[in-house]
Symmetry: C2
Subunit: 583 residues, 2 copies
């Protein structure tokens, strides 16, 4: 239907007859000449129709936005050169135009942004817009580059099932009624974790997959019900083998896809250090602000919130200095407090130092003059700064002061340009769940502990460190992985510590325990969030911009109108019914 | 953990110290020397431990099958060269052995085939077997080669959703209860059909995806609940553009992956011709047998089954000559009749010609001598042959006589070696469903008819031909596609002919009709069955051999034990319950 792409017609074709096909980007009638901007995925070319070609002119004059055309014509040099277009030196003098499909008046035009609901409902129009085409292509090139990198290095791209077994650990499963097994269900995989471990036991040595994963969780701005990860696993490795390999891969891919050189090597930081300095296990190093521990300086002040936390072995009192923060109004400070409250803060104390050096602070009264001065000096605050204080349980203080740090970084323009990757390592093995009165796995129950000795792990479970690691980039956890447990006795011991009894462990993970028992190599791996990395590369905050057909935060596909009700007869075949619905 | 792979240790390394890691394929103690065949994914190398190295010898002497080892040693030339192994000229004299993981006694050994149930339950052991590794790698290389081919030609690899909308046309959907939308369900896609059409409307021009698809249908030997297809779509094309492109692709991929040259060009055949000559829309051309129409010769015979079909405009009387078939016993002939009955036959008449030329046939009595001779001459039967006859409705006769043809081909060793691809084209647009008293789409409701004129399509719907096409290889439909409808008025007309009312069409496919209305280019595409192509390439009859974790014909994953019952509390969160189960 065409001999050339619109966007690639250039001066090398002058004098030739070409056939093009594409969309009417704009058509305008200018003093007896009709100009059509004809667009395809490669770009736009100007088609010119002169009045003396009456039949073709009549067609051209009646065109509307987005009509689909086939155009035949001769390429000619253009008088008014447009340097912004590859095709800007030429025009196509149309000898024939066929309207392949008329377009009805559009709900919005390519150069508008009509709001996300409308964009998602008419996703095919949204995706036609040049910036959306660019962002989708960034994602496509990312995945292509990753595959090429891994294929060239002996990794095997292996598919794992989508209809699999429910594993009630972790996030909520999506379930699928099994028609052939009344009352039973498949589950969609939260990740291919167990299958990739099984592949290592099966001798595949190096595995990867661009894998669709599913989590039925409340959607936040950066989450989708289904998401895509680069899933990888290596046999016969330690953590540095995995980390070094994928660090080099990520560097190569950033260079290839968006021409960015990432630091070599990535800085490394323990989980404990990241929490202490940044209040986060995925610190955004572009923001040059750090938390400062002040328990020593406040432990005898009269403010009970501070003194209680300062004397609690599991408490923390942390300060964050924001340069220039004295400009915050009372209302703005309240907004910071409200923001901190979302992350568990019960109150956000502060000391403001005016440009003139005057102290304004609701907690100043609890400190003698020189104690206050010492505190201010300790956090390095100067005139014009504000210092926020958080006190309470260690992890809670980290969480909300980390959130305050991020907000301040954005509000005060303290986020530097560029790319700041790092490794976070030495995660705790377990978290203590107060409510359930048991340990939960910080990563997942298959992560190996740093110690090889089961008795030692049992004796020091609360402080045990795992062999997990995260790759962080500009405040995003873009990859997470670990060395896995490969010994069945250690796996059983970890299940036990997590309160998973022997019987339950067999029922849920019997095949894994068997597999570990029949010659499992030491192994480890990592998974990268493709949606997030693509969004970072494309320069957008929303992963929905780099997912071709995303769902809303309300878990709906506005274009196809999913989910939708299903006739009861169809449910009956699947042996289920809607609760409270008719039988 | 290793410096080299076991399977790659060769004479270039003689004298060097290497560290290897792998599985104990065999360990044997032979006159004071211990030999270990150490295996990894690259192959096997012989590790030798001499008695004078007492500590290492003790470890080696205690090894069992599949123990996982790390071995350090020096590579040495071997006395008894084993030419069958790449490593056969060397051995590794072990200076240290570390047992990384002991293996328990195995349920079966690598060189056994314990039956499919056991294989699937212990899939990790099954996949370790060299022939399974080979078959999986054939699949991996197939997918890799396809991606590389398409990436190099401007195709965009684009993901479409797995959680999507139920479309009650076609096969049965898998459903997923939507927690955030009580009483509503997502469906798993039967194919990305509508999304890929939408991508064409969105201007992506060339799309592909290695896509997981789901059909909740009874499993036959060659079907899985979830399967993988290479899904492709092209904008601004006619059928020959698509066919020529993918034909060249398939040829290139067969050459690259299994070094096979397929015919160039593929032969082409209309659906009508394929049915007439082979009784199948996916004829296996390796079998040099054809159906022969004999209605003219039997229309006046006394056998009512023949005469009725011969006088019915929609009937058929077809014969199939099987050379050498006179050797079939009465019991074997009954087996053919039973086989035909599975495909709708009500009886299978035959004429047997003994080596001496004697006729044995239950229908001979209906024919005068010279009529019988004429019939035998018409089908070209000679001494020692058998001729089967089928009579009835046209398509039914095709189906069961086609099945008889395939069985005879196999039974009589008439399936030639090699690869016989072809295109089948000009499929009927509709089939008349007697039960529902309406048309159903032979392909799918988005396939374009050969005629552009709606009135003409309506007037001749029963005989209308579509722009669909299948690629067939050795009797397998390996790819199927079509030019799609791109005009909204034609799409509405086809929905109407299929008995899908305007309201229903809007509810189910409103977004498609809208999309066609807002500037849809002419487009078409195809989808290839990756599992089947991989099985053909790997030389196995079972697609389960080329799927890493397949389900049984009973729709179960025997390794993880999916599907499984789910606690009612968990179902309550999803607003569903098991029918007849407790509330």
């Amino acid at each position: 239907m065409r001999t050339h792409f619109c966007g690639l017609v250039d001066e090398t074709l002058i004098g030739q007859t070409v056939t093009l096909a594409g969309w009417t980007d704009v058509a305008r009638n200018q003093g007896g000449v009709c100009f059509i901007d004809l667009r395809d995925h490669e770009g736009i070319v100007q088609v010119t129709v002169e009045l003396d070609n009456a039949q073709v002119f009549a067609i051209a004059a009646s065109l509307g936005y987005e009509d689909v055309l086939q155009v035949e014509g001769v390429v000619r040099a253009r008088h008014a050169v447009n340097d912004r277009l590859r095709t800007g030196k030429v025009e196509v003098i149309a000898s024939a135009i066929t309207v392949l499909n008329k377009a009805a008046p559009l709900p919005f035009h390519a150069h508008e942004n009509p709001g996300e609901e409308t964009r998602l409902k008419y996703r095919y129009l949204d995706l036609r817009r040049p910036q959306m085409q660019r962002m989708q292509r960034t994602r496509i090139r990312l995945v292509q580059a990753l595959r090429r990198y891994l294929d060239a290095r002996g990794f095997q791209d292996i598919e794992t099932p989508i209809l699999t077994k429910a594993t009630p650990e972790g996030a909520r499963d999506f379930l699928v009624p099994a028609r052939m097994h009344p009352g039973e269900f498949y589950a969609l995989p939260q990740s291919p974790q167990l299958f990739k471990q099984i592949l290592m036991v099966a001798g595949f040595d190096r595995y990867y997959q661009i894998a669709r994963c599913f989590r039925d969780e409340a959607l936040r701005a950066d989450r989708q019900l289904e998401f895509t990860q680069l899933d990888m696993e290596f046999a016969f490795v330690g953590e540095r083998d995995v980390q070094d390999f994928v660090e080099q891969m990520i560097r190569a891919i950033f260079a290839e896809v968006i021409d960015v050189e990432l630091a070599a090597p990535f800085p490394r930081m323990s989980w404990a250090e990241a929490m202490r300095r940044y209040g986060s296990d995925k610190p955004d190093l572009r923001i040059d602000l750090e938390l400062v521990d002040v328990a020593e300086l406040v432990k005898d002040c009269g403010f009970a919130v501070f003194t209680a936390a300062a004397h609690d072995a599991e408490g923390r009192v942390a300060a964050l200095r924001i340069p220039g923060g004295a400009s915050l109004s009372r209302k703005q400070i309240d907004e910071y407090a409200a923001h901190a409250a979302k992350y568990g803060s019960k109150g956000l104390a502060y000391i403001k130092l005016s440009e003139a050096g005057e102290v304004a602070s609701p907690i100043a009264k609890f400190f003698a003059q020189e104690r206050l001065a010492a505190l201010i000096a300790h956090v390095g605050a100067g005139n014009g700064d504000i210092v926020f204080f958080g006190a309470g349980g260690y992890n809670t203080v980290c969480d909300f002061m980390g959130a305050v740090r991020l907000k301040a970084g954005k509000d005060f323009g303290l986020v530097s340009d560029g790319w700041r990757p790092l490794w976070v390592t030495d995660f705790p093995m377990f978290e203590w769940d107060e409510q359930a009165q048991r340990f939960v796995a910080l990563h997942h129950p298959f992560t190996a502990p740093a110690v090889d000795d089961i008795a030692q792990l049992r004796a020091h479970a609360r402080t045990a460190v795992s062999r997990g690691y995260d790759m962080v980039l500009n405040g995003n956890e873009i990859g997470g992985g670990s060395i896995r447990i490969h010994r069945p006795d250690m796996q059983s011991a970890v299940f036990e510590l997590l309160g998973i009894g022997q019987q339950e462990a067999r029922a849920k993970f019997g095949f894994l325990l068997d597999a570990l028992n029949y010659g499992a190599p030491p192994h480890g791996g990592i998974a990268f969030g493709i949606d997030r990395i693509a969004a970072l590369m494309a320069g957008t905050d929303s992963i929905r911009d780099v997912i071709p057909f995303p769902k809303t935060t309300g878990a709906q596909d506005l274009m196809t109108d999913a989910p939708s009700p299903i006739p009861d007869e169809q449910l009956a075949e699947l042996h289920v019914q809607v609760r409270g619905g008719e039988k």
